[in-house]
Subunit: 297 residues, 2 copies
């Protein structure tokens, strides 16, 4: 048989997906190269966790960002959200927005960076999609699992709960936003031991994400600016307004406080930064602004 | 308590998601407004089906396309892929690429169109994501289910199998590509009755999608151009090269042919257009070009 012609789209996709190399296959019936990915169902004692996230040139990275770090970041952001849900990642889909045929090699590099992080978490890339866009864009959709009824929401914090963050905040640019490790192990551990009454990941800065937790939970809060754990050269204002820290922010009932501090098994810093109040008690930040990074501003 | 400030991003998202109105809630633990959507797991006799798909201004619609039809199309394209997998859609995530604050009302309209189609299929929108992009962009991720081990791949067609298409092909622009109905019921019926040896949906035209099926299945084929069911004013060449028909293309073992034709319960046309051959017998299209729409050309 003469070879059937490959479109340049098919050719690129074949090249990109081969950059993923050897992937986990357990529980996967159909994967790359089918209309849809098909997976075996998970046991009923698990809940399914779904998340989608995108990075765009000029917003989340620049033209000079090394492409492997773009791919890495695209995946790591979504994984950070799964961490906040206490979830284990199980499968990922990639959407590529490709500005022109010359971008193909940059995308290949991005796949390599993404693939390295996926392998670290034993995460198969099971499908994807390519579209022509004016800017380079990578969008990742994730499926994860979490023990039934354990995934914390943003809405469970109660007055009196202590507010914690993992890691150090601020100064994410120019490096940390490309190289951070999503706090998956920490999130899974916290949820397995039922510590968080509410949890989210810090993607837009304390000044934007803390109000989201407070609104959802209908609480007030006091933050102690001098207790915020800071990256080198960062200020509490950076921690509030800059975003892209990808650390966990969560509330813990006061009676679980000593258990949490005694049992925390990670080298990742764990810091109490404030306390939840009643709505009537208001919100207090020592003068730090309650606004963070705003994608539509 | 003074009201916590809402970023313009949070304000837009609240407005857009309210356009979704009353949504199905069964099996959904966390939905919009959380880091991740959390769903109850499905029974083990079902497989999970995952798909992501995007539409972009200037590629899949124009600046003058009515916004509700953009939202409708964004969702319908992904549903068409689920149809090819024989799947029932269970949950959707939406990613919005928003060029500027003025786009917000256009996106609101798009959500309304998308929501109408979602309601028709009892499909909850469980999460989303907003990013700043230069072009308006909607990306949809879908989770579906299909009875265990029944979802057809592209790779199961055998020499001697008959090639079928649903509906009529060609002439998708200027209207059909915005208003088509994904062949979910047809795909689910075909898979439940185990007719297709291979199946995919026609998104890039017979000239691109048929070679994909043939390559995956390692078959040759003969197509009878005068048997291709055509839309008004379309030619077989349109059917091969234009794309965006969103009909099903599938192969059926010859011994199941009469059962399929006798039992087909839909008013949707069902047409045999050719036959699968051995690779050595090659591929024959009566001169029609084996190329379709190419996103990277």
């Amino acid at each position: 048989m003469k070879k059937l012609p490959l479109s340049s789209e098919d050719r690129c996709i074949a090249q990109w997906t081969s950059a993923l190399g050897h992937q986990p296959k357990s529980g996967i019936r159909h994967s790359l190269g089918h209309d849809c990915a098909v997976l075996s169902s998970f046991p009923r004692n698990l809940d399914l966790v779904l998340k989608t996230d995108a990075v765009v040139e000029g917003v989340h990275f620049t033209r000079s960002t090394p492409a492997p770090l773009i791919g890495r970041k695209a995946l790591a952001r979504g994984l950070s959200d799964l961490a906040a849900a206490g979830a284990t990642p199980r499968a990922a889909l990639i959407t590529i927005g490709c500005p022109n045929p010359r971008s193909a090699s940059r995308i290949l590099q991005a796949y390599r960076g993404l693939s390295r992080l996926a392998k670290k978490f034993h995460l198969p890339i099971v499908g994807g999609e390519t579209v022509r866009t004016r800017q380079l864009l990578l969008s990742i959709s994730l499926l994860g699992t979490v023990p039934k009824k354990t995934s914390p929401s943003r809405s469970g914090a109660k007055p009196g709960d202590i507010l914690f963050v993992t890691g150090k905040l601020g100064g994410s640019w120019p490096h940390h936003h490309l190289t951070f490790t999503p706090r998956l192990a920490e999130g899974q551990w916290l949820v397995r031991h039922k510590f968080p009454s509410a949890m989210l990941d810090l993607s837009d800065g304390l000044g934007a994400d803390l109000p989201r937790l407070a609104r959802a939970s209908r609480i007030g809060f006091t933050i102690h600016p001098d207790q915020i754990p800071l990256s080198p050269r960062a200020t509490p204002r950076h921690a509030f307004t800059q975003g892209e820290d990808y650390e966990l922010l969560f509330s813990v009932p006061k009676k679980r406080l000593s258990a949490l501090l005694l049992q925390w098994p990670f080298s990742t810093p764990l810091t109490p930064i404030g306390i939840c109040l009643t709505p009537r008690q208001g919100y207090h930040t020592g003068g730090l602004p309650l606004r963070g990074y705003d994608h539509l501003r």
